[in-house]
């Protein structure tokens, strides 16, 4: 099992390096002139050249990459072109909002999808219809559109929730939750159905397994069979759909943030994109790639814990 974990970790590391290289190549495709955009149109060509030299942009791409990557290993993501602040500082300012949003949404999705799946296999037909409706809604209404509707309805029309702004959890947990309620609903609702359908399908399969019949023959009650045995055996499909959902959530968060004017990674990245701030964008690429890789590893670990056979594969 240790060897298996080691293999997974190495694969994750290789993937991370590939993500970083790909990100570097993509952000370097154009022939942008950061010196010019920092100093403005009035600057002389010599000043621009000096600025580019100061930023180390007159070196080859390979040299720039190794320099940058060396910094990343030491936890230094370079400095932003805008305002000359360290990228890590910028990201740590903006990250909590996005993480709050995504983490809360993950919890909502995990709990709700499991409840729906269990209710559905317990033979409640209306739950099935609910899940199917949710699936269509999730597909047809992307998070940002749902966010706009929620904003109009509950924040502008009925004024039940704050329209804008974010309160850090350290300041007031209640305000934090109140401010995130609408964004989380908008973000999570679409993914609930997908995870619920996965869990339901897996549960249905497991409940028809031979060992479930044998357990029942020994007098193990339906509740124990469902919650102790079936859920555990059905967990891989559900966990996989959650880890895929995480990537979708990150993407959705970028747009939902704009609707509720939340100062998160999305706001930061859009700003960096419009201004061609390559170091910040690279930071976001590495960070999101790293988050996805870590979540996948966590899911692997969870799976090994729940399914003993997965430890030997």
């Amino acid at each position: 099992m240790v060897r298996l974990l080691f293999r997974r970790a190495v694969a994750a590391l290789v993937l991370m390096i590939a993500v970083a290289v790909a990100g570097f190549v993509i952000t370097g495709l154009g022939n942008s002139d950061p010196g010019r955009s920092i100093l403005g149109p009035q600057a002389t060509a010599a000043q621009v050249e000096a600025e580019n030299h100061r930023l180390g942009l007159d070196r080859s791409q390979v040299e720039q990459f190794t320099d940058w990557a060396g910094g990343v290993v030491r936890g230094d993501l370079g400095r932003s072109y805008l305002g000359d602040r360290p990228v890590t500082e910028k990201i740590t300012n903006y990250l909590p909002v996005t993480m709050s949003l995504v983490a809360l949404s993950m919890v909502v999705i995990a709990v709700l999808s499991l409840v729906l799946a269990v209710a559905s296999v317990s033979g409640r037909a209306w739950v099935d219809r609910c899940v199917q409706l949710l699936a269509v809604i999730g597909h047809v209404l992307p998070g940002y559109l749902l966010a706009l509707l929620l904003l109009l309805l509950f924040a502008v029309q009925f004024q039940l929730f704050p329209v804008f702004g974010y309160t850090p959890i350290g300041e007031s947990p209640a305000q934090w939750l109140r401010g995130l309620a609408l964004p989380v609903i908008a973000l999570a609702l679409g993914s609930v159905a997908g995870a619920a359908l996965q869990a339901r399908g897996a549960l249905m399969d497991v409940l028809e397994a031979d060992y479930v019949r044998t357990l029942r023959s020994r007098g193990i009650g339906g509740r124990s069979v469902l919650f102790r045995h079936a859920l555990r055996n059905a967990s891989p499909a559900w966990l996989t759909s959650l880890s895929l959902g995480f990537v979708a959530l990150l993407a959705g968060a970028f747009m939902v943030e704009k609707v509720f004017a939340l100062p998160g990674l999305g706001t930061l990245s859009v700003e960096a994109t419009s201004s061609g701030d390559r170091p910040v964008l690279m930071g976001v690429v590495v960070l999101t790639g790293g988050l996805v890789v870590v979540v996948n590893l966590l899911v692997d670990l969870l799976q090994m814990w729940l399914i003993p056979k997965a430890r030997t594969a």
Binding site: I26, H139, L151, Y211, T214, R218, G219, V247, V259, V284
Partner: protein, 603 residues
């Protein structure tokens, strides 16, 4: 499974056209209507572009933010005084075009990639799969932002990028499907017959794949449209063209002045995505031959009445020594509008301390009968008639709970396939003690009892087996574990469903020996379901023969093997390869056992 079809099967000879099937489903019909609207808007957009190219930009400065329904502006005007409906129609073109670019790229990369990867496997597969997991480990929006920051907001570039990011979804789907088909026998046959790979792929593989692919493409076209709109909404779209996303962004900015402005592009996008999805779902179902028009929900259990069928034997209370008696049992499964019966009036009698062999070919209903007695039929099954007497009580006359309680305390079950009958996620020890713990036995006592039972069933190192997971033990050992589990509940009736079929011949003999010994020791009555006459001859005192859901002969084993009465019994016996040996063995064994009565041989 041989089954008598009670109701008429749907006529399968005339298959309606795909389009006809799509239109039959009300949801897909809605989708077709919506899709028609989108097409009309597209045509209108082209016409407007041709007749009045600046219509979408023309500002009515006297009517800024006009409400919907204002004279001359059906959906009102935006904050620049421009007509919302005209802009909405014009925007259809660019939005659709963007979707098409992304989709074409995704399909061009994903389909050949998936086909090659799934069909040939090997190194190509490894590389492509790794590339797809690379693409899937970044949210597409991050990649889009990176591209836009270096190459600008051109719709061509961002949609091509999006296509690349969506390609893994197509790739994975195709790869999995092709991989599954590739190992099918008919594909092997085609290969042996000398068909070229290209031909096999286009003939056999694409046919299987097209249903899911159609649905995937519709889902992705929805994704493409929503992502493109989202990009525009973030202000990172192509500002030279009118799109729904751009309108959404303007509507959002003007929300305080004009609350409904963002609704229109949002609605247009949602309905378009819905149209694709609904039509594609219908098409997928049609391609897979599922008729979406008729909903065939299984009938609710309450609606089926327990109809007492006249039984072949008298329905009086069974005699004292009849531990288990089944009378006129009828089992059916809902299918279409009616029930398909799989057991029609089966009768069985199991006497105290004896072993009854239930013989029959697969599909004769013998396992169904056994599961009915065990109260373990699948949820869809309907017990629509008969009686099951256990220790002088008709179980079917009891309330569900009481029936469950009685069966669980009296009858135990030994299954056929040892490996699939153990939960792979729990240790053997846990699975053996769980039923005891559920009955209120303490943790320590339960462990001791489980260890003792494992030892009794011939396992030498019970402690190690208790700590093992099912995948860590052999099939023969698993069957011993299952027998130990069956014994843990102190049953006086044991129902064993082909308990040796899945085992090696040497292990078979040991398991049969074990069962015989346990029966003598605990005085159990055993119902042994088997198609193996050798096993029956070895173990049984009585024999019942089932065929097509009915018991056609019931006799003592001696009589059955010596003078089978029913034609079918004679056929069964004749079909045993070494008939004389079986009988000889049986007679010899029988004499030993009778000499040794009272049965202490194995205890």
């Amino acid at each position: 499974m041989s089954a008598e079809v009670v109701t008429a099967t749907p006529d399968l000879t005339t298959r309606p056209s795909t389009l006809r099937i799509i239109l039959r489903n009300p949801l897909s019909r809605t989708g077709v209507v919506l899709l028609g609207l989108v097409l009309i808007a597209l045509v209108a957009a082209v016409v407007i572009d041709w007749v009045a190219p600046d219509a979408a930009w023309k500002a009515d400065l006297y009517q800024l933010n006009a409400a919907p329904g204002t004279d001359g502006h059906l959906l009102g005007t935006d904050s620049g005084g421009r007509d919302v409906l005209v802009r909405l129609v014009v925007a259809t073109r660019a939005t659709m075009f963007a979707g098409v670019i992304a989709l074409v790229v995704a399909v061009l990369l994903g389909v050949p990639g998936g086909l090659i990867s799934g069909y040939y496997g090997g190194k190509v597969d490894l590389v492509l799969d790794w590339l797809s997991s690379l693409a899937m480990s970044l949210p597409s929006i991050v990649v889009l932002l990176a591209i836009i920051s270096s190459l600008g907001t051109s719709m061509w570039i961002s949609m091509t990028t999006l296509g690349c990011m969506m390609a893994p979804a197509v790739f994975r789907l195709l790869r999995a499907q092709v991989h599954a088909v590739r190992n099918e026998l008919y594909v092997d046959a085609a290969r042996v017959a000398g068909l070229s790979d290209a031909r096999i792929i286009s003939r056999h593989v694409l046919r299987v794949v097209r249903g899911p692919l159609v649905l995937m493409i519709s889902v992705l076209s929805g994704v493409a449209i929503t992502v493109q709109t989202g990009l525009d909404f973030l202000g990172l779209g192509d500002s030279t063209t009118i799109t729904w996303g751009g309108m959404l962004s303007e509507g959002f900015a003007a929300m305080t002045l004009n609350r409904v402005l963002f609704i229109w592009p949002g609605l247009a996008m949602a309905l378009t995505v819905a149209a694709f999805f609904l039509v594609a779902s219908g098409a997928r179902d049609a391609l897979q031959g599922i008729d979406g028009g008729s909903t065939t929900a299984p009938p609710a259990p309450e609606r089926i009445r327990l109809t007492k069928v006249p039984t072949s034997q008298s329905s009086a209370t069974p005699a004292e020594d009849e531990v288990l008696a089944v009378r006129g049992l009828v089992i059916g499964y809902p299918s279409g509008d009616g029930l398909v019966e799989v057991v029609h009036g089966a009768d069985l009698t199991l006497r105290k301390g004896r072993t009854l062999g239930l013989v029959g070919e697969s599909g004769s209903g013998k396992s169904q009968t056994a599961f009915a007695v065990l109260h373990l039929l699948p949820r869809q099954a309907r017990l629509s008639g008969g009686e099951i007497w256990l220790d002088g009580t008709d179980l079917l006359a009891l309330p569900r709970r009481e029936r469950e309680r009685r069966v669980r305390s009296a009858i135990a079950y030994v299954p056929q396939e040892p490996m699939s009958n153990l939960d792979p996620t729990f240790t053997i020890g846990y699975q053996l003690t769980e039923p005891l713990r559920a009955r209120g036995v303490g943790r320590k006592a339960a462990r001791e009892r489980a260890t003792a039972l494992l030892t009794r069933t011939g396992i030498r190192d019970p402690e190690r087996v208790m700590a093992s997971y099912p995948h860590q033990i052999s099939g023969g050992m698993a069957q011993r574990v299952l027998i130990a589990g069956a014994l843990s509940t102190d049953p006086h009736v044991l129902i064993a469903d082909e308990p040796t079929t899945a085992l090696d011949v040497t292990v078979q003999a040991e398991i049969l020996d074990l069962l015989r010994g346990l029966q003598a020791e605990f005085g159990m009555s055993i119902l042994l379901v088997s198609h193996d006459l050798g096993v029956i001859a070895d173990l049984c005192d009585d024999v019942a023969v089932m065929r097509e859901g009915q018991v056609v002969e019931a006799a003592t084993a001696e009589n059955f093997f010596a003078h089978p009465r029913h034609e079918y019994s004679r056929m069964l016996l004749a079909a045993v390869p070494a008939e004389h040996e079986v009988r000889a063995e049986y007679v010899a064994d029988r004499s030993v056992r009778q000499d040794a009565a009272p049965r202490e041989k194995h205890s």
